[in-house]
Amino acid sequence: MRAFVVAAYLFLYAPIALVVLFSFNAGRNASEFTGFSVEWYGKAFSNTFLVQALQNSLIIAFVSAVLAAIFGTMAAIAIERMSERARLVFDGLFAAAIVVPGVVIGIATLVALVTMLGLINPLIAGVWPGENPPRIGLGYFSVIAAHGLFTMAVVTMIVRARIAGLGRDMVEASGDLYATPFGTFRQIVLPQILPSIVAGFLLAFTFSFDDFIVAFFVSGSKTTLPMYVFASIRRGVTPEINAVATTVLVASLFLILGAHFLMRPRSNKPVEG
């Protein structure tokens, strides 16, 4: 039994450990470790294509996570005020949105965006006074929209759990102490759900930053970091790619640990005595 568990963990983590290990390999060969070096990190981050892809990914992840945090929180607050039955339906829909496969989200978003743009672009051309009307195409905006949509569900779930844990009492107590509904939101609700909003933001950022499938469908001519890695792997695994993968891994770990820390439960439980 014990050996089995060890084997399972080995199976899970050994490939990742190898990637990390070989990112520090002095040699070019990916099958034999010839010495410690960080030169591949330097190489990777002086590659302009890679840096451009990284920049795209960071912009998309940041903007989509900000949007997800704002709209996800608003949705969570709205759901909390619904009737019991409506709440069940919307909670279910948000949970479902999280488990929808990336391929489906990718195709669905692509079809929806292309249809929408097919309607909007002629409209713009119709009212444009000048010679060359602008055309909105796939790019930053479409990836941000697609990522924002599915990461918003994550934010909503996390914030919902926190709001539900606050309980009716505290909000009522604030009202009892002369705070207006908005005053209660600003002074009592928001400060207490803020950690979960930030946690949701961090997770949304991570999901967007790591996503390949959805971006692959809707990014148009823009290349995100996972797309760049995928494209270059077809020319063989290089230590440079290992270095990029290790960087992404470490950054993601920190973001997720941060989110986890922010989501830890807290209580008013009195001390003994």
Binding site: D169, E172, S174, G175, D176, L177, Y178, G183, K269, P270
Partner: protein, 368 residues
Amino acid sequence: MKPAKEQGTSRAKGPAIDPSNDIEFRAVSKRYGDVTAVAGVDLAVPKGAFVALLGPSGCGKTTCLRMIGGFEQPTEGTVLIENRPMNGVPPYQRPVNMVFQHYALFPHLDVMANVSYGLRQMRPPLARTEVQRRSEEALELVRLGGYARRRIHELSGGQQQRVALARAIVNRPAVLLLDEPLAALDRKLRTAMQFELQTLQRELGITFLLVTHDQEEALSMSDFVCVMNAGRVAQTGTPREVYDTPNSLFVADFVGKTNHLSGTLEPGGVLRLANGVGLAVGGNGTGRVAVVLRPEAIRLHPEAAGRGFAGTVTHRIFLGSTVEYAVAADGLGDFLVTADRGKSDGTAEPGARVRLAFDPTALHLYPS
């Protein structure tokens, strides 16, 4: 406290404003779907009084408080605070404050910020120094002077309770509402807090309306008790009135320990008990009646005394200052008797033959 009107009768004149009432319920009902939580309650809480709302769990006490606080709207009837009808007035515009059953303190704020919260909501804003001074005063009043900078989770249950109290009284509300404020405390702390609440109420002169299911708590602390049963007011009066002259079997049972007998009332005011003995109780009804007798109204005598009902002691429970006996009376069933420990009747052993004596005027008769 007095009922604003007798139950069942309708108000003959227009609403008579009584300036001495801080809170008034006029025919207030509250229904949740099929559940009727409060059914036609009339109630008046006089200014400056300490009033207890007493009743078993689920009888609608909390719902009454929540309608005063503004968290629930009555389905029917009107709640008045300081003679102003409160229909549609949101909680934050009502001159009352509530101590919540589970305190509902704000965990992200320290003790000082919790206590000063209400003052900081005032519009136009109060001066910073004023907020500071009044909050410190309130903390001193509940003996938490040195705790201003503590976090809520660093306090004990009793201390959290006092923060909740300070947070409410700092605003000098017209009425302080307390929902089972002592229920979560252990017995010793509870007794201490009972005294503290009483003292606080007298010092501040704020009207207190306290909800409890603990009859001892209600009787010992309040000026007036309102006993509730199944959403209705069963009886209102001073603790003494409610205890000594309960108006129903329910109130008699709920506000203290009771012995139950049954008998038949015969013409001439004679109560015929199950063992055939007739007692002169007065009155002029006839028919079967339920009879209630408080355990401390009974005296135990040695069998040789020759007066009273004979019986055998079955149990003796030592309660510290008093002793409780269970006595099986011949032909009458089991009796509970409370005796002072010091008195000679506090020494009968289980198995001993005794006589039970009581004054017939101590009997409470209810139609059965």
